[in-house]
């Protein structure tokens, strides 16, 4: 798409944005992939429309405030990236644009307070855990509360478990096959500590030593995707200091959103002095399922115990795993290795579940519609178990399938593997 974006004034992120706009041939192949287009059916709430709006704002032909409602409704799911034959890096565009535009936004005090709270609580697992447990008791009051508070409460599981400290080093069982660094994640530690416990057990069982480097923190994705660029840069640099990629075979994440965030570091730092370090780091980042599938190819995994009965698993592709990281086959391959487990594909599987980071808090109505739609599709497959690789999807799907009356367990992929190892499946 022709553009007159003043790249020189906008700096390195301007290059990223102009390149993405350039690459779009406005063919419309992205439209059917876009969740908000599916709900709203209008051009400005589609990826193609948003690219045009961002281009116009960057060129000075449209007021940011005019474009903002449509850009704010983007989930950042990147399904359009998968669908785009022209190779438009839409995710890089919207993230950079949000970072560029946020300082120019005028927001209400309540809105500002909420964003501040999210961005402070999310990267601080202990704070988040306390908040979540307080919230758990407030849950029954939710219907009486204003929408702004109801959203976050809706998201909380009925039971918020106690935090489990993770060991600095988890030694490999048997001969050591590898050594990896692990990002523990933020919200996930508070909401689903078993994800990490299961990850450590599965890796150790397969001869992998896992190190949780000190000084690591939030990956920065939430800050970046909500436009808090300075905050994001601080978090990114802290992680670059904490993880020395030369020390490990891989840097692992078991949260799709965090993993995608880590892989984005070179884009965030594009044109800044840490760019090379970010590239070396990102080259080592893998999702847990990618890494385990790699082990399958290099000597195999320890055998799983068969499931106690034949189990139909509905595997949900987290957007940040399937679209942002391109990881689709690995989790399915791993689950299929468990004797007795079969995978069912979810209709409209590429459509976002509506969780999308802070989207539930910012756009509760659209998030709710997508959540209900996803849960309906999942339940249409009559699964015995629902698996996914992202904490956000996990809480969203759990909450919506329960609301639709299903008691099917919802698990992280690695939890399913862990259970199979323990003969508890």
């Amino acid at each position: 798409m022709n553009n007159d974006i003043p790249v020189r004034e906008l700096g390195p992120q301007g290059e990223v944005m102009a390149h993405a706009v350039d690459a779009c041939v406005h063919c419309g192949f992205c439209l059917p992939a876009c969740p908000t287009y599916a709900l709203l059916g209008d051009e400005m709430d589609s990826p193609r429309g948003r690219i045009v709006l961002m281009k116009e704002v960057l060129e000075g032909g449209l007021d940011l405030l005019d474009a903002a409602p449509h850009l704010d409704r983007c989930l950042g799911c990147q399904a359009c990236v998968t669908a785009c034959p022209s190779g438009v890096p839409y995710g890089e565009l919207i993230t950079s644009f949000r970072g560029w535009s946020e300082p120019q936004r005028r927001r209400s005090p309540l809105d500002r307070a909420k964003r501040y709270a999210i961005l402070k609580a999310l990267p601080a697992p202990r704070l988040f855990s306390v908040a979540a447990r307080v919230g758990q008791y407030a849950k029954p009051l939710a219907p009486a509360l204003p929408a702004a508070l109801r959203g976050p409460l809706d998201l909380l599981p009925e039971h918020v478990p106690a935090m489990q400290p993770s060991p600095r080093v988890t030694p490999a069982q048997g001969p050591r096959r590898g050594r990896v660094a692990f990002l523990t994640g933020c919200a996930q530690q508070a909401l689903a500590p078993n994800f990490n416990a299961a990850t450590l057990r599965v890796l150790a069982r397969n001869g992998i030593e896992v190190v949780i480097p000190e000084g690591q923190g939030c990956c920065g994705a939430a800050a970046l995707h909500t436009g808090a660029r300075d905050e994001a840069l601080r978090l990114v640099r802290a992680n670059l200091d904490a993880f020395n990629p030369d020390d490990y075979d891989a840097v692992l994440s078991n949260a799709a959103g965090c993993g995608a965030g880590l892989k984005e570091y070179p884009v965030i730092l594009h044109g800044l002095h840490d760019e090379a370090r970010a590239k070396a780091f990102a080259a080592k980042v893998q999702d847990i399922s990618e890494y385990l599938a790699g082990l399958v190819r290099e000597g195999g995994l320890e055998p799983f115990m068969p499931a106690s009965r034949s189990l139909k698993v509905a595997y949900h592709d987290a957007c940040h795993l399937a679209h942002a990281q391109g990881v689709r086959a690995a989790p399915r391959e791993l689950l299929r290795m468990i004797p007795g487990v079969s995978i069912v594909e979810i209709p409209e599987g590429d459509l976002c579940c509506g969780s999308a980071g802070t989207y539930n808090l910012e756009q509760p109505e659209l998030a709710g519609q997508l959540g209900a739609r996803k849960a309906g599709h999942i339940l249409s497959t009559a699964p015995d178990l629902i698996a996914s690789g992202n904490i956000g999807c996990h809480t969203q799907i759990q909450s919506h399938v329960r609301r639709q009356g299903s008691a099917a367990p919802v698990m992280h992929t690695v939890e399913v593997l862990d259970r199979a190892y323990r003969g508890e499946l």
Binding site: M1, N2, D22, A23, C24, V25, H26, C27, G28, F29, L31, P32, L40, G41, D42, E43, M44, D45, G49, V52, L53, E56, G61, L62, D63, L65, D66, A67, A68, P69, H70, D72, R73, C84, P85, S86, G87, V88, R106, R107, S108, L110, D111, A147, A148, E362, Q363, P364, E365, L366
Partner: protein, 476 residues
């Protein structure tokens, strides 16, 4: 944004920024009053989003109407006529000739919310509103053992209304025909806001509306023929050193009696653009790739036809690979469908040709076009529905570095190649704005007068999609 529209689209607790880009158009205000704010877009951010299709940007519309019924369309057309404002119909805007891009200030009627679809299996028909997504017709028909064969590459995005406007084809059109072949009846709103119902008897007015790119009327409903899908399908891919060999193989296979369901080709540049996207292991070094489906209800015939095609390919110097599974053939067809947008990876902009030539001259035509491209210094690629003689030479360019005049000149030369060999300017994408000027070469003055008279009869004020298909009269 008005409070009503807010209620429709979002309940974000964030305060809505008050639009500074509203229109002061009296027409927009009137439409909003009569249709309600949910159906009328008047903010700049909204209107800007309805000025383009997949090939070009036009003029920002005065207002955009998202009708939910034929009555809404009628009301919009009447209001626009009273205000003397022109009207542009729009589907998903995946068109490739500029057909949906307004060329002057206009009301855009975007049909994406008119999505009612009914299947009548006993009479093998579907009745669709114009906003129905093409693929949705087949998806709804399949449980009844039926499909809707016209399958443009954009079938996941494009709408039935857009298909009708452009008389869209697709890979299946060689054996099964194009959109127009599947329409048994349609309703349209004329330039004055009157509703008409057409069938295909007496004067084939429906045939006139199909492919008229919204310049003669706005189609509000269509009755479409459905067919049972073939029971067996076999896919093969062949690759060749040079693009003319593909055309030779195709001509020979058809001459030998094969009637494949699909016969598509793409040249080396296309193959590489798609391979960058899908990573299927397509032959990157090949000068051209041919994709063929033979299909039918009798497996022996299907296999025999595949053997005929294979032999023709080998004879023409190609290497042949059979798709081993349904998944493999689906992947190959996804590759073919992605060619057009994937070309964006080569240059940001393009001029898309859509010529049709007799099959007997295919080898000369593709070679002549290749030679023109090589001589021009511009990046020219070719793909298309070669079984139909429908070729899509595309000129890829970067307007910052390459002369648009040179692009236009090359496009004109290509059009002349087609005309010289007894071909036509458009197979399925329409004339739009892109090939409007070439109509002077393709149509003699007397026929042009007849076309102008037709346009004048149905749209005396020239209000419907102005600036498309017919070039301005020379003396104007």
């Amino acid at each position: 944004m008005t409070p009503e529209k807010l209620a429709l689209t979002t309940t974000s607790p964030a305060p809505r920024p008050r639009s500074e880009g509203g229109t002061d158009s009296a027409l927009a205000a009137e439409l909003t009053r009569s249709l309600g704010p949910k159906k009328v877009l008047s903010n700049l951010s909204e209107r800007l989003s309805y000025r383009y299709d997949a090939i070009q940007f036009g003029v920002t519309p005065l207002a955009v109407v998202l009708p939910e019924s034929t009555e809404d369309v009628i009301a919009t057309v009447r209001a626009a006529r009273r205000a003397g404002v022109s009207i542009v119909g729009r589907g998903a805007a995946s068109g490739l000739s500029g057909g949906a891009a307004p060329m002057r200030e206009a009301v855009v009627i975007s049909f994406t919310r008119m999505t009612k679809l009914e299947i009548f299996p006993e009479r093998r028909e579907a009745v669709a509103q114009p906003g129905v997504i093409t693929l949705a017709v087949t998806e709804a028909a399949r449980p009844h053992g039926l499909i809707y064969p016209p399958d443009p590459a954009s079938f996941r995005t494009s709408t039935i209304g857009g298909n009708l406007g452009e008389n869209a084809g697709g890979p299946l059109c060689f054996k099964y025909g194009v959109t127009g072949d599947y329409v048994t009846a349609l309703d349209f709103v004329d330039a004055e806001g009157e509703l008409h119902s057409l069938t295909r008897d007496a004067y084939d007015l429906a045939g006139l509306l199909i492919g008229s790119e919204g310049t003669l009327g706005l189609i509000t409903s269509a009755t479409l023929r459905l067919t049972p899908p073939p029971r067996f399908t076999r896919t093969l891919m062949a690759h060749f050193a040079e693009v003319g060999q593909v055309a030779e193989a195709v001509s020979a296979a058809i001459a030998a009696g094969a009637v494949p369901g699909k016969l598509e080709f793409m040249d080396g540049a296309c193959t590489n653009a798609v391979e960058d996207y899908l990573h299927l292991g397509l032959p990157r070094d090949a000068g051209a790739v041919l994709l063929v489906d033979t299909d039918g209800d009798d497996l022996d015939t299907v296999e025999e036809e595949r053997a005929l095609v294979e032999a023709a390919c080998l004879q023409a110097g190609g290497q042949v690979r059979r798709a081993a599974s349904d998944a493999e053939s689906a992947a190959l067809w996804q590759a073919r469908r992605s060619v057009s947008p994937a070309l964006g990876r080569i240059r940001p902009q393009r001029m898309n040709e859509d010529i049709v030539v007799p099959r007997s001259v295919l080898p000369e035509v593709v070679r002549e076009i290749r030679a023109l491209g090589d001589a021009s210094g511009l990046k020219l690629v070719q793909f298309g529905h070669i079984g139909d003689g429908n070729l899509h030479p595309n000129i890829l360019f970067d307007p910052r570095r390459e002369s648009e005049e040179a692009v236009h000149l090359l496009a004109h030369q290509i059009a002349l190649v087609a005309i010289r060999h007894g071909g036509v300017l458009s197979g399925e994408h329409g004339i739009g704005t892109m090939k409007r000027e070439f109509m002077r070469d393709a149509v003699d003055p007397e026929t042009m007068t007849a076309l102008r008279n037709v346009k004048r009869a149905l749209d005396p004020a020239g209000a419907l999609n102005p600036g498309k298909i017919l070039p301005d009269p020379e003396d104007a």
